[in-house]
Assembly symmetry: C2
Homo-oligomer: 289 residues x 2
DNA sequence: CGCGACCAATAGCCTGAAGGAATGGACCGG
DNA sequence: CCGGTCCATTCCTTCAGGCTATTGGTCGCG
């Protein structure tokens, strides 16, 4: 049983994404016949049909769907191997922590401070990125601050730092502003701005959003940490029927790095201290699953 | 930045394991110069030295150690892709559950029964294997019953089923047999049989071990479920300073299979029912970490 | 029905990279 | 200083991956 090559997996994924041999070949910088031949050979080697082809359309078979999924994680693992090996070879290795701007719930200074007291510390470099889970999976970062359920931390080890109740942000004058709690159904009439953590780009986007809310143009549901400090003319109401946003530190599941372990300990310590501080009204549990 | 090929990773691992180009090449079925050339090229592509060579000895550099680790998980992921795709192509796909004989703490019947009531069920096939975590990682099994800390479940999703206190098994006449609890230090004088879950082969090994204990030839520390039923002439005493053996169901971290999800639900349900049953004296927490 | 557009598969050829055989060079032990 | 060990280098061969050109099947449209 010979082993698949990453080239074959990458070629397959190109076709699986495009569902079109010609365009996929273009994207790969090779010609269509070469690609067709490779995919055919892949199917022969696996003993399984991956695509259903007609001269009009290409679709994935059931095994094709499985391979599309598995191939992605396998290629991620190969990329990670390259990346981490390269980084291990640099003169002064750093610990790269991925987060999104403001995505630390104010916890980062405490984490960094606690980290300095750990053994086996490296210089920490904070980088900002969109798909932070992927950065960790591909080895571009050693750890990341993620929010579940919006980020997908599967395949990573995680340490839960804090759980934040989702808050609806409303104008102080809004009819629902006096309610003790809300359900999502209460907000269906509003022009709801669904918070998409992955899509955030500029740092100003939150304050812009707040501005729009104050103008009555929209309302939003955000994790608590993003709502402070809150403008005078806005108010927040907990939403009870969506799961809380959980901030967690994530790192590669098979990590053996002492530095990453130290960071995890530091983060846990900082989060524990924060959770017991009087200013925090946290760990409200959502009801949805 | 071109992508590494699995061939390169496999060749590298062969050398990393043997620390000898000639023997590694033998094992791979190629000649030594071909292997040397490939490794050199790999080092050039990564921009990093992987081995320290003298004509007398070959050793891994620091980046080499990193790659050895990363390459293994990457190759596992590729194997898993192959394996799962092939299995998805078989006529009637089954759900393969890996365990070791007797390694279910008596929970398997309840799990299977609960599973039948779930939606999206497949036929379950139980297989026995030594390195069950690896079987899941490589796609030879869809789920496994593992014991932590002896099995390494990193990189897998898990559901904790039950936690068992470690019990010292002694002849009833043993001087320590009357103690309420023991520490490992108490047993240093004995000819202690360290339980190695991975090394278990035949089903008879436990009863043979019990026989040896009854003869006073050895004593053993085992998770509770392996000690029942207990011979008349033996007794057990909890050991407090080693971590409890935790039985868990593990499956690939990035699984999207409805059937695996159903099995996880079923196992959780069966374990919950078992934990509340009067016969169980479980979840004793160990103190070690 | 016939024609063109579209798209994957096939055929035939070429190039480069993987591998083999022979050899060189460094090191060590006797 | 010689022989053995082991990795690197050189040179040659083979074949798999890629390209161009073409075929064959299907759909849409006049």
């Amino acid at each position: 049983m010979d082993r698949l090559e990453t080239r074959e997996l990458a070629y397959f994924l190109a076709v699986a994404d495009e569902l079109h041999f010609g365009r996929a070949a273009d994207g790969l910088g090779i010609t269509q016949p070469a690609l067709s031949k490779t995919i055919r050979q892949l199917e022969r080697r696996l003993g399984v049909a991956l695509f259903e082809r007609t001269s009009r359309a290409v679709t994935l078979t059931e095994p094709g769907h499985v391979l599309a999924h598995e191939a992605r994680t396998a290629l991620d693992a190969v990329s990670a191997a390259t990346e981490r090996t390269r980084r291990a070879g640099t003169r002064d290795p750093r610990l790269i922590l991925a987060m999104k701007p403001g995505g630390d719930a104010g916890l980062l200074p405490a984490i960094l401070a606690a980290y300095q007291h750990e053994p086996d510390v490296l210089q920490i470099e904070v980088v900002f990125g969109g798909d932070r889970a992927r950065m960790v999976r591909e080895g571009q970062a050693d750890a990341a601050l993620l929010y579940t359920p919006s980020d997908d931390a599967r395949g990573l080890d995680t340490e839960m730092l804090l759980s934040e109740a989702p808050l609806a942000v409303l104008p102080a004058s809004h009819p629902l502003a006096h309610r003790a709690t809300l359900r999502m159904a209460d907000l269906t009439d509003e022009n709801l701005h669904k918070h998409d953590p992955a899509g955030d780009s500029a740092k100003g986007s939150i304050s812009e959003l707040m501005h729009l809310i104050a103008l009555g143009r929209t309302v939003a549901v955000l994790p608590q940490s993003l709502t402070t400090p809150l403008r005078e003319d806005l108010t927040t109401v907990p939403v009870t029927d969506i799961p809380p946003s959980v901030l967690q530190l994530a790192w590669p599941a098979h990590s053996t790095s002492l530095s990453v372990a130290a960071l995890a300990r530091a983060a846990a310590k900082a989060a524990a201290a924060d959770n017991t501080s009087p200013s925090a009204i946290r760990s409200l549990r959502g009801t949805a699953r």
